[in-house]
Subunit: 204 residues, 2 copies
DNA sequence: AACTGTGAAGACTTTCACAGCA
DNA sequence: TGCTGTGAAAGTCTTCACAGTT
């Protein structure tokens, strides 16, 4: 994939800038990110000429350009459905705010959770979504509900103005009119199992 | 990627079997999983001939074969480091046990968490890892600690017998001698941002 | 008739290697 | 000199299309 590299590169720029470094070569970027220097150059070059031959890339400039491409000009508004452990983890994880995401609302259908405060927001009943969401103009919805409810939840969000869905439930969402990314932790664990068994049977 | 499809296919088989269905075609699998029928056939065929022409795949057979390839013969032992919200979410999520994963231990370095019970396990201090881990023979380690501690934590796990790492912290781990998969939720959110901005600027 | 397995074509990605600029 | 930007080659993944089997 290509976007991943740009995102990691953008993050690396921020880190290097904090360390006071002003210039970086494709080889160094590759080293940090675990990819080849050629790949780094190809992907950066696709955004236009931005390095100086002989000296590498100027970090400030690179960061700014990557920020533009990745849509980092303004904070994105995110709504969360599902205030379980996973939802709470996302909400209270400071890293998102630092990276330009603002949680605008949290919903859950458990009456025991509705009304509680969580990461500075009051959990609202999921039935309030059609009332509350349109005014928030949130671009991104995070679905952190049980898999049985995921599909319905995603549809509800899209119907109420969300343009993109991050789905944490282990189901394939097929939605019209929204970008969807699935993060399925069980699948990731199973990938590791595959690697382990493949490595073992390879030995003989 | 290729393994993802096999994993999802395996999961789909289990689901269809529960529904009492005995046979499935590549087109149906593709429909459920959101990929083309040709791709399904290619990937399944790479495991050996297992469909019957004219009738599709027998689900029981397919599930068994995929299970073998993916290493589902026995439960895998998983240890978790980091008993925050994210760690707790993983630990208490019933889906993992059902998919063949068994959590063998939980560690954290926060004295306020050590000693508490979590998902049937007592949280142990992370300094106990070298004492406790070798006897557990755990294959997989999940790193759900803050990014500053992730690299060190992963190394500690690998030194004590873990073969594979699922890293939830937003850093690139470079480790010798272990398979690593990174799940970085901030990166996933940023991918969505990119899609959104790309779609917007594309309109004109 | 229905659907798999698979060559062949096409699309895309990665790597190599080096001309050209600072 | 040192490093970028980029053709060209090599490699990988996807799709097409159909022969072959049940």
């Amino acid at each position: 994939v290509r976007v991943d590299l740009l995102i990691l590169c953008h993050r690396l720029c921020a880190q290097l800038k904090r360390e006071g470094i002003e210039t970086v070569t494709s080889a160094e970027i590759g080293e940090h990110l675990g990819v080849s220097a050629a790949k780094v150059r190809r992907d950066l070059c696709a955004l236009g000429k931005l390095g100086t031959r002989g000296h590498g890339y100027r970090i400030g400039e690179l960061e700014r350009l990557l920020g533009d491409v990745l849509g980092k000009k303004r904070p994105w508004r995110v709504v969360l459905v599902g205030a379980g452990n996973l939802g709470t983890a996302l909400l209270t994880h400071g890293g998102f705010r630092r990276r330009g995401f603002r949680f605008a609302a949290v919903f859950d259908c458990d009456p025991g959770k509705v009304g509680r405060k969580l990461g500075g927001l009051v959990v609202q009943d999921v039935s309030q979504v059609p009332t509350v969401l349109p005014a928030l103009n949130a671009e991104i919805g995070v679905v952190a509900v049980p898999s049985t409810a995921a599909s319905e939840t995603a549809r509800l969000l899209v119907q109420n103005g969300v343009w993109a869905i991050l789905n944490m439930a282990p189901v394939i969402l097929s939605l019209e009119g929204a970008a969807v990314i699935n993060v399925d932790l069980a699948v990731e664990l199973e990938k590791l199992c595959y690697h382990l068994t493949a490595a073992k049977t390879e030995k003989h």
